[in-house]
Symmetry: C2
Subunit: 483 residues, 2 copies
Amino acid sequence: MIRSISESPLYPIVNPKSIAFFGASNTFMRMGSIMLSSLQALGYEGKIFPVHPTEKVVRGLPAYPSILDVPEIPDLAIIVLPTEIVCRTLDDCGKKGIRSAIVVSGGFREAGPEGAALQKELETIARRHGIRFLGPNCLGVANLHLKLNPTPIKADCQAGFVGLASQSGSFITQMFNYLYRHGMGFSAALSVGNEASIDIVDCLEYLGACPNTKVITLYIEGINRGDKFMEIAKAITPHKPIVALYVGGSEAGKQAGLSHTGSLSGPNEIYDGIFKQCGIIRAQTLTELFDYALALGTLPEPGGNRIVIQTHSGGPGATAADSCGRSGLTLPRLSPETVEKLKPMIPKTASTANPVDMTFSKNPSEDYFNIPDALLQDKQTDMLLAYFVSPGLFLERILGEMGIAEEAVGAEADKLIGDYAQKFVSLIQRHPDKPIVGFTYRSLQEKMVRTLLDSGVPVYQDPERAARSLAAVREYHERRGRM
Amino acid sequence: MIRSISESPLYPIVNPKSIAFFGASNTFMRMGSIMLSSLQALGYEGKIFPVHPTEKVVRGLPAYPSILDVPEIPDLAIIVLPTEIVCRTLDDCGKKGIRSAIVVSGGFREAGPEGAALQKELETIARRHGIRFLGPNCLGVANLHLKLNPTPIKADCQAGFVGLASQSGSFITQMFNYLYRHGMGFSAALSVGNEASIDIVDCLEYLGACPNTKVITLYIEGINRGDKFMEIAKAITPHKPIVALYVGGSEAGKQAGLSHTGSLSGPNEIYDGIFKQCGIIRAQTLTELFDYALALGTLPEPGGNRIVIQTHSGGPGATAADSCGRSGLTLPRLSPETVEKLKPMIPKTASTANPVDMTFSKNPSEDYFNIPDALLQDKQTDMLLAYFVSPGLFLERILGEMGIAEEAVGAEADKLIGDYAQKFVSLIQRHPDKPIVGFTYRSLQEKMVRTLLDSGVPVYQDPERAARSLAAVREYHERRGRM
């Protein structure tokens, strides 16, 4: 197990100071051109050397007819060329002295016996030159902390704490926006493709040591180095959570994985056993993968499984209670002191059972601070799940009714909502040992919830997702404790 | 079982030509005022008679000191008053000749023994006058086809085909936007509250006969008239699907329901048995409730459980395959004829196994018509699940690179995407016997998917949700067949 990312063969690939780029041209509708354009768009600050047989300038950058003509030895080569010329190109890179590469091109092992032979050749060339590479048949890396995104889709998101090692390139490049919408961002995301030189185990090891990564997510179709995977995972999970989505366990998933990356899968039970032994949390869907990552990357270890639900609507409270029950969380009665504290803050028709159903807001600023604060102070509770509707809906109507000019209403409502959200966020520091989570059926992009997401409060689109994510946090710490 | 909605006691409540409104005033921060304001905002075309002891005009409408002063007999009374004066008010309504009411006020059975006594009194008064009413402790109705929305939240959505009978008012008023975002709208939504006069069984019967309702959704904390419920449900499911979310089965859900509406719940197994016997599909979460409703309201009965997955990304294809496998759907091999048809349309590196992985688009217009059309023509397939990324992402970049002025790029891309979406939508008519469904990890509000949703193609935020919804459609038709 490495102690620093600089020991990993991935280090120059994820943190290059200079890149030789093969396959980009001034014709935009080529994968290489699109990828280079993404890299430029995010503002990567290292040097880029496009290599092109005929064009002198590629996308505004001086281009070189051969890698041998490039005036220095780049840290990394990114190869997005037709299959037939990939081996020759990697050989040239080796001659130049390049020792790290990303081979994006497909047509290798995943394409049948001929491609498999070609992949063998590629591996031989790499070994001869001491080159380590990601791929072939991958989308490479995104290191958003370095503004490095040579993938097909622009990174419309911020850098975050989620590390991803994926046997699908799509789950890097197509998830930027998904992660942003759900309150996250990638630290580093690695697409391994056919794993000819660097495999998902190497990526796991890298992310384990990566200081920007607070939680590791894995998308797995099949693991080849099982023993090494377990050794590395066991070394990581005591200090950093790992969540894994494994799709090769069903017949349908197995077949799909085989034609995708040609990887070998095994029955669900075997993978379940491996994950359990290593303290890894298993997700069944991509939604769960990132739901759990959000919770594991932001929440403290809860003292127990007793949850209090705060709502102002009975139905959402009852569905949340049902979901919590299904996820193994219990709903304690509040202590008499808490009930007394709540009484002046809530209407007569409200319920101080759990869920605490305020029915309606007597004073919105108490809903977002004093009431949840009282619930979190109660020694009977280990965590809080709060329901959020959109306070903007009412605020804008109220302000409008108060005669405030229409154009001022939106800004005024936004300010009030921002204040409410910040009050709620301040509960995290007041109760550092109790996970605080929300759910809503409104869009996550509305002011209140967006502010919570941006400030480290996970908010989910359904209480079931919140409850399962809290259960995943519990499970992680339990497994860690047993290891 | 009624044959027309006009036979139902709910008819004047859901379709009133005139309303007496109690509890609205010119002070906006009152529930009654907010509800009246929502009603006005949607443009309800019937007459509204606010009743207020002192104010002469309420929210711009002539107000009356007593219901007895109103110049005609309104079809419906909506009562949003303090608990203490509700009985007296209903009695006055009876004297006036009103025979239908919505009692929004709480503080009755759900509030303990004193409230329960008050509810008995309310029931006696209603019986004496022959009044049928929804509530107390409810949010009444929304009939969007009639622009009728006297609930606290404005209806920022369109009328649709989803009927809802709910033991939570929140799931009506707080779901308008949710349904819109997910491609649906309510036909009629009914909140039953404490069910003192009209219960969820009456609502089910109404929705069964409602011509605007193509699928019925139920939110249940506990059913009192079990036998009648089963009789009505059995009469409906042969011609209209019912999906039910029941939360009273877990200990936590049971407790929550008890303090919410005071309803009696039973073990999950009993409800499962009832649902099965009646041909009702059970949802475990609100997300599932409306996911299934969308599929059941739009998709035809599939001929079998063989699904073909279309993707241009291996990972999403494999996760979709895994989800389909988990939901009992099988992935057939395509016929040799289909494989031949596909070959000229897809790149060499593409896979014609199932999932069909195009890897990238040779010609986007073929991706959205010719390719899925070929997959649907194949006799081996019963349904199609297609993966959607955002074509706008690339189109805007391509158009920008082509030198099209920045301000024209968005409009041009939107037009192209609209055309693609319409081509895909035209597959519904070409293949009326095969369900066509999509999934995406992008926002549902992006042009492509939004157009699909608006045109009757269900698109889900995760393949698991799509697969489970398709399985729910299968299950509905199987249960119907057995009945």
